[in-house]
């Protein structure tokens, strides 16, 4: 048993994402203390309505990530369509139009890898439903740097490909959790003085 202190949650999600994020954000406590940064794969020309939609589902503030945003606790940042979202080591956000990674822009791996540099072992990374293997490499790096890895139980996923790929790549994540329980686990992990 040791005290763990977490400073940021990153979430990667693809097919079936709107529902999964709705369930999770609805369940996060109103005083959730740390930031949540989300990459959701979207069509490149979709408008950034996701943040607006999700804002109705949670007590926390949901916003579309903007470049140079200072990452703040209790705020959920959603990646805009057709940009990569990166976390700088000074804990601000950056966007890029670099080539697709794993056929995706935004790419979950890009977010996770840069989040590892910024937060190291204070990072919680979550892979949810999706039909690609994006995020597997990033999740592996999170674990290699003593961050905390959570994967949605594939049995509860709209598409099980992404969670299964992530579980295989990092064999095994710290937790494999049914969708309905992800928010409760995040609430627990981020409660002050919580011991693993």
């Amino acid at each position: 048993m040791k005290d763990r202190h977490f400073s940021c949650v990153v979430i990667g999600v693809s097919a079936g994402g709107l529902n999964a994020l709705t369930v999770i954000f609805h369940g996060l406590s109103a005083d959730f203390p740390i930031p949540v940064v989300v990459v959701q794969h979207e069509k490149s020309d979709s408008e950034d309505l996701l943040a607006e939609l999700l804002n109705y589902k949670t007590d926390l503030c949901v916003k579309t990530a903007e470049e140079k945003d200072t990452i703040e606790g209790g705020v959920i940042y959603i990646c805009p369509a057709n940009y990569h979202l990166l976390i700088e080591e000074n804990r601000t956000l950056s966007l890029s139009v670099d080539p697709r990674v794993n056929h995706a822009r935004p790419s979950i791996d890009v977010l996770f890898e840069t989040a590892v540099s910024a937060y190291g072992k204070e990072l919680i990374a979550v892979i949810l439903t999706g039909a690609s293997s994006d995020g597997s490499t990033g999740l592996r790096q999170v674990m290699d740097n003593d961050g905390y890895a959570i994967v949605q139980d594939p049995a509860t996923a709209y598409s099980r490909i992404m969670p299964e790929a992530a579980i295989k790549a990092c064999r095994f994540p710290d937790e494999i959790v049914p969708l309905e329980e992800v928010s409760a686990r995040l609430n627990d992990l981020c409660r002050k003085g919580y011991s693993l």
Binding site: D45, E66, E67, K68, P80, Y83, H84, L86, I87, E88, E89, S94, L95, S96, V97, D98, P99, V110, E113, T114, S117, G120, K121, N145, D146
Partner: protein, 278 residues
């Protein structure tokens, strides 16, 4: 065993040294670039070369020009596509071009044009509006290799479908296929589009202003810069623009945190198109 933090700090030290070597040896200054993207690009270069660490890259950068030029290419290419963000080009077509059309002659500057997709997209709009012949278009980038590619105007054939769709969504009334010649596995933009384009070497980090430009296009370049460098570039743009001239930036970029914000007014409600106050 070294900790994750120490490993990260060591890597950052190597990257700082690399940036310094590139600047002192070749004059390109990347110190004002957003670090996370730059780091990814340097590491990508590392993985593609046979160097085994960033430190050994530095040695090769200093002693092998060609090695440096390959790195520079990796550090400078911004992937773009024809009519990226069709809504933006629709605003240029419907809102900006009618104003430009009133001018006797028109000067347009594409800053950081990379491989030129946006320059050709714009040229098509100007052609279709019938005002191309009174335009002088400057397309600049700091990298000679991408400039050469831009000059050639070659599109990979795989991108044509998306380009055509974007063209139509941007309000294109003709046929996109009229603007290129298809070859075996690529397409070449028609030379009539290139006639009034001057491709030139220009570095936003260190070079000076253009004079009396009526429209500056610089989209998705500033997101790679830190705030002080963004501010420098915004001043450059403001000083280059004539009064009433337009500044078009990427949909996720903003002039609000820069010192020129008071010199401009919002022109388009939906797009990041600003107009220099008269």
């Amino acid at each position: 065993m070294i900790s994750g933090n120490e490993e990260r700090d060591n890597e950052n030290l190597e990257i700082n040294l690399l940036i310094r070597a590139v600047k002192e040896k070749y004059g390109y200054d990347f110190s004002g670039y957003s670090r996370a993207s730059l780091k990814r690009r340097i590491k990508k270069s590392l993985s593609e070369s046979d160097a085994d660490s960033i430190s050994s890259m530095i040695h090769r950068i200093i002693y092998e020009k060609e090695y440096f030029h390959n790195l520079l290419l990796n550090l400078s290419i911004n992937v773009t596509e024809m009519f990226r963000d069709p809504g933006f080009f629709r605003s240029i077509r419907d809102e900006v071009i009618p104003v430009l059309a009133e001018l006797a002659s028109i000067r347009i500057w594409h800053a950081g044009c990379s491989t030129g997709e946006e320059v050709y997209s714009m040229a098509i709009l100007l052609k279709e509006a019938g005002i191309y012949n009174k335009c002088q278009i400057f397309a600049t980038d700091f990298n000679q290799v991408v400039l050469e590619k831009a000059k050639e105007g070659i599109l990979p054939i795989g991108n044509l479908k998306e380009s055509t769709r974007n063209y139509q969504k941007s309000g294109g009334r003709g046929s996109f296929a009229d603007w290129y010649t298809a070859r075996y596995d690529f397409a070449v933009m028609k030379s009539v589009l290139r006639k009034n384009i001057l491709f030139a070497d220009h570095n936003l980090v260190s070079d000076e202003v253009f004079s009396q430009v009526d429209l500056v296009m610089c989209r998705n370049v500033l997101i790679y810069f830190d705030r002080p460098l963004q501010n420098r570039v915004f001043k450059l743009f403001s000083n280059s623009l004539s009064h009433g001239g337009f500044l078009a930036i990427g949909s996720k970029e903003t002039i609000h945190f820069s010192s020129i914000t008071d010199e401009f007014e919002k022109f388009s409600t939906k797009q990041k198109i600003f107009r220099k106050k008269i």
